[in-house]
C-alpha cells in the first residue's frame, strides 16, 4: 500500500460513514500484540492441547494418535492424583504466608515509620533477590539430618533431632516453610505499597476520637487492604510454583515416597525425565483448566463484591 493510497483512505474515512476498512484499522494497530500472543501463548496452548491426545518423545518425527489414553493414564495412575493432592496442601500451607503473615508485618512496619522500619523492610525483602537454587542449597545444609544447624539447635534445646526432608510426614511442610520466606518477603513489599495510599490523617482522626489501635486496624486498615488480600492470595498461588519447583528439584526430587511431588514437578518429570510429551501435555491441560476455574471463581467473587459496593 502506498502513502497516496493511505492518504486517500484517510480522507475518505473522515467524510464517509465507518466502513470495513475503518473497522479493520484497530486490528492493524493491535496486530503486533495479537501476532505475538498467537505465536507465544495461544499457539503453544492449542499445540499442547492437540499433543495431549498423542504419543511423542520430543524427537521422533512420527506422532501417533492415542485418543484419551494420556488422560486415562493420569487419572488411573497413582502419581498424578497424589501430586494434585500435594499441590492443594502446598497451596493451603502457603496461603497464610501469602496473606495474613505479610499483611501483619506490613501493617506493623507502616505504623512505625522510621529508619529501623526501613532496615527491617530491606531485611525482609532480601529472600526475594536471592537465587532460588542458592537458597535451596543453603537450606540443604541447614536441614542436614546429621549435622545441620536446625537439628543442632533443636538437639541443644532438648527437642531432639529430625530428618525434616527425609520423613514423608514433614517433607512437604519443610519445603512449604522454606518457600514461605520468599512469599512473605515479596508480599510485605506489595502490602506496603497498598498501605502507602491510605491517608494517615484518617488514623490520626480516629485516634483523636478515642479509637484503640486494634479498632483502627480492624475498621480502617483492613477494609482498605481487602482487595489486595484477595489479589495477592490468588496471585501468590499462581506465581509461587517456580520457587517450590526449585526447592523440590534440589532438596527432595519429589520424594520421600512422593510426599513433595506436585503437578508442576510431575509435568516436568513426564516431559524431561521420561520424554513423554503426550502425558506431560495432558497434565498441562489439567493444570491450565484447574487454574482457569479457580481464577474464574475468584473473579466472579470479586466482581460480585464490587457490584455490591457500587
Amino acid at each position: 500500500m502506498t502513502v497516496s493510497t493511505l492518504e486517500a483512505g484517510e480522507r475518505g474515512a473522515a467524510h464517509a460513514p465507518p466502513g470495513a476498512r475503518a473497522r479493520a484499522r484497530p486490528w492493524l494497530y493491535l496486530s503486533p500484540l495479537v501476532v505475538a500472543l498467537l505465536v507465544w501463548v495461544y499457539g503453544p496452548l492449542v499445540f499442547t492441547a492437540v499433543l495431549s491426545f498423542m504419543s511423542w518423545n520430543l524427537t521422533d518425527t512420527h506422532l501417533s494418535w492415542l485418543g484419551t489414553a494420556n488422560y486415562a493414564r493420569l487419572v488411573d495412575g497413582r502419581d498424578f492424583p497424589r501430586a494434585a493432592r500435594n499441590t492443594l496442601v502446598f497451596a493451603a500451607v502457603l496461603l497464610p504466608f501469602a496473606t495474613v503473615v505479610p499483611m501483619s508485618l506490613a501493617i506493623a512496619l507502616w505504623k512505625r515509620p522510621g529508619r529501623v522500619s526501613s532496615v527491617y523492610r530491606a531485611l525482609l525483602f532480601l529472600p526475594v533477590v536471592l537465587a532460588p537454587v542458592a537458597m535451596a542449597i543453603t537450606w540443604q545444609f541447614l536441614l542436614d539430618p546429621l549435622s545441620g544447624l536446625v537439628n543442632v539447635i533443636t538437639g541443644r534445646l532438648g527437642l531432639g533431632t529430625h530428618n525434616w526432608l527425609g520423613d514423608p510426614a514433614t517433607a512437604l511442610y519443610a519445603v512449604g516453610f522454606i518457600t514461605a520466606a520468599k512469599v512473605v518477603a515479596l508480599n510485605v513489599l506489595l502490602f506496603g505499597a497498598s498501605l502507602a495510599s491510605l491517608d494517615r490523617g484518617l488514623l490520626e482522626a480516629a485516634a483523636l476520637d478515642g479509637a484503640t489501635e486494634w479498632e483502627i486496624t480492624r475498621h480502617l486498615v483492613l477494609p482498605h487492604l481487602r482487595r489486595t488480600i484477595v489479589l495477592l492470595g490468588m496471585l501468590s498461588l499462581v506465581v509461587v510454583w517456580p520457587w517450590i519447583f526449585a526447592n523440590v528439584a534440589v532438596l527432595t526430587q519429589g520424594g520421600p515416597d512422593g510426599a513433595t511431588d506436585n503437578v508442576y514437578y510431575r509435568l516436568f518429570t513426564y516431559a524431561f525425565t521420561f520424554f513423554d510429551a503426550g502425558t506431560a501435555s495432558a497434565a498441562a491441560v489439567f493444570i491450565t483448566t484447574a487454574l482457569a476455574v479457580v481464577l474464574g471463581i475468584g473473579l466472579l467473587l470479586t466482581g460480585r463484591r464490587r457490584r455490591d459496593f457500587a
Binding site: 493511505l6 492493524l28 496486530s31 501417533s64 549435622s147 514423608p168 525425565t273
Partner: protein, 456 residues
C-alpha cells in the same frame, strides 16, 4: 469543515499507521531471519568440511566441559592435546548440565543439528540408542584400525557395553563403586585400617564398632541416589548372583537374590550400622569425618580426597561381596557416542574418540579428572600413570575389580527411565531407609513396572 488541528491529527494517524505497519513487518522479518540463521548455521558446518583432508570442525557435547572444577579443566586439557596433535581438526566444545544431556540431545536432534560427539551417561544410554540417530562407533573405522585402537583397552568392559556384539558407544569416563573409609575412625574403633571389610557382613560389624567406640556413623551404601540412578542397586543384586533386569528387559528384581540383597541393606539401617539418610547427606557426613565408610562411585574420589586433606586419612577398598560369592559391581559414568551426519565428520569424530581413549587420553582423564584408566597397563607404565598410582592409591581397588564388572542392564522399551525411577523411589528408598517389607514391596513395584513398560 476543517479546523486548524485536523491536518495535525491526520498526520499523527498516518504516522501511527506507518509505525504499526513497520512493526508488523519487523516482527515478520525477525521471525524469517531467525529461521534463516539456523538453517545457514547448519549448512555452513556441514559444508565447510566436505573433504577429509580439509580443515574440519566437530562439535563435542560434554557435561564435564565448562565446569569450574577438575572435570572442566581435564576436558579442556584433552581438547588442547588433541588439537595440538591434529591441527586440521578443531573441536567446538559445548557444556551441558549432567541431568540435561538427553534433553539437550533430543532438542538438538529435533532441530537438525546434533553434536558430532556426545558424552552420555550409561544409565541413559539405552534410551539414547532408542531415541537418537547414533552411529555405532565400531562401524566407523576399518576393522584393522578398530582392532589396533582397542588393543590394550579393557576387553571385559568393551564386551559388557556391546550391543549384539557391536560397540555403539565407547566407555570414556568410567567409575565403579568401591568402599571409601576413614582410617582414623577405624583406629579409634580399635579396627585395623590395613584390613578393611571385604563382605557385607564385615561392613556391618565394623560399622557397628565405629558407631559404638568412635562416636561416629558407621557405613553408608549410596544406593538411594539423588540422581535416581540404579547403578549401585544393580551392583548389589549382581553381587548376590541376581539380576535387576531380566534378559527380556522385564523386571527381575522381585526374585530371591535381589530381595536378599536389599534385605541386607535394610538390615544395615535397622541395626544402626547405616544412618537413614540420602546419599547427598552421607557424602557430606563422610567429608566432614563423621561417617566411617561410604560405598559409592570412584567419581567422588577426587572431591573426597580434597575434603579429607588435613582432616583424616582417606583410604579405599574393593566393593564388598555377599559371603563367598565374588563381588560383581556394575559401572557408572559415561560413554562417547557419535551423532555426526556425514562421512567426513564421522571420520573426524572417530579420530577424536581414538585420541580420548588412547594411552595419552586416559593419562589425562585419570590424572586430571580422577576417572579410571580403561587401559589397565597404564597404571604400571612409567611413561603414563605409574607415578600417579604410586602416590594415589584410591583408584587401585577399582582398577583391580575392572575385570569382574557386570554389564549395566536396561529395561526394554521407551519407558525404561520411568521404570528405573519407580524402582528407586517406590522400592529401594522405602526398603532401605524406611523399613518397607522387601519381598512384598519389590513384588508390587515389579508389577507396577511391568505395567509401565507395557504402556504405549
Amino acid at each position: 469543515m476543517s479546523t486548524p488541528d485536523q491536518p495535525t491529527r491526520a498526520g499523527r494517524r498516518r504516522r501511527s499507521l506507518t509505525a504499526a505497519i513497520v512493526l508488523v513487518l519487523a516482527t515478520v522479518l525477525a521471525a524469517v531471519s531467525a529461521c534463516g540463521d539456523s538453517s545457514t548455521g547448519g549448512s555452513t558446518t556441514a559444508g565447510s568440511t566436505s573433504a577429509a583432508d580439509q580443515k574440519i570442525t566437530i562439535r563435542f557435547l560434554s557435561y564435564n566441559y565448562g565446569t569450574p572444577d577438575i572435570g572442566g579443566q581435564g576436558t579442556q586439557a584433552l581438547i588442547d592435546a588433541f588439537e595440538k596433535a591434529h591441527p586440521n581438526i578443531t573441536i567446538k566444545p559445548q557444556g551441558v548440565a549432567v541431568a540435561d544431556v538427553l534433553t539437550r540431545l533430543q532438542t538438538d536432534t529435533a532441530a537438525g543439528s546434533p553434536p558430532d560427539v556426545a558424552q552420555i551417561g550409561w544409565s541413559k544410554m539405552a534410551a539414547a540408542y532408542d531415541l537418537l540417530p547414533i552411529v555405532p562407533v565400531q562401524s566407523i573405522p576399518a576393522k584393522a584400525d578398530w582392532d589396533a585402537a582397542m588393543a590394550g583397552f579393557n576387553q571385559r568392559l568393551l564386551s559388557a557395553v556391546a550391543v549384539n556384539g557391536q560397540v555403539k558407544a565407547i566407555p570414556y569416563t568410567i567409575s565403579i563403586p568401591v568402599i571409601f573409609y576413614n582410617a582414623d575412625l577405624f583406629r579409634k574403633a580399635g579396627l585395623d585400617p590395613t584390613r578393611p571389610p571385604t563382605t557385607i557382613d564385615e561392613v556391618k560389624a565394623d560399622a557397628l564398632a565405629i558407631k559404638d567406640k568412635a562416636s561416629a556413623q558407621g557405613a553408608y551404601f549410596a544406593v538411594v541416589d539423588s540422581g535416581k540412578s540404579d547403578y549401585l542397586t544393580q551392583s548389589l543384586i549382581a553381587s548376590n548372583g541376581g539380576r535387576e533386569v531380566g534378559a527380556d528387559g522385564q523386571p527381575a528384581f522381585d526374585q530371591p537374590p535381589a530381595v536378599a540383597a536389599l534385605t541386607a541393606m535394610q538390615d544395615l539401617t535397622t541395626s544402626g550400622a547405616q544412618p537413614a539418610i540420602t546419599a547427598t547427606n552421607a557424602v557430606a557426613a563422610f567429608s566432614a569425618g563423621k561417617l566411617g565408610m561410604l560405598v559409592g562411585s570412584t567419581a567422588v574420589a577426587v572431591s573426597l580426597a580434597k575434603a579429607a586433606k588435613g582432616r583424616f586419612e582417606l583410604r579405599s577398598t574393593g566393593f564388598p561381596s555377599f559371603g563367598g560369592r565374588p563381588a560383581a559391581p556394575t559401572y557408572s559414568g559415561a560413554g562417547l557416542a557419535v551423532l555426526a551426519k556425514d562421512e567426513a565428520h564421522q571420520q573426524a569424530a572417530w579420530e577424536f574418540i581414538r585420541f580420548l581413549t588412547s594411552p595419552e587420553g586416559f593419562t589425562i582423564i585419570t590424572s586430571k579428572i580422577g576417572y579410571l584408566p580403561l587401559r589397565p597397563s597404564l597404571a604400571t607404565d612409567p611413561k603414563y600413570l605409574a607415578t600417579y598410582f604410586a602416590t594415589n592409591k584410591l583408584l587401585s581397588p577399582a582398577l583391580a575389580q575392572l575385570d569382574h564388572v557386570s554389564p549395566y542392564q536396561s529395561f526394554s522399551g521407551k519407558r525404561a527411565s520411568q521404570a528405573v525411577v519407580a524402582l528407586q523411589d517406590d522400592a529401594v528408598e522405602p526398603i532401605v531407609l524406611r523399613g518397607a517389607k522387601p519381598a512384598s514391596t519389590l513384588s508390587s513395584v515389579a508389577g507396577q513396572v511391568r505395567g509401565v513398560l507395557a504402556q504405549k
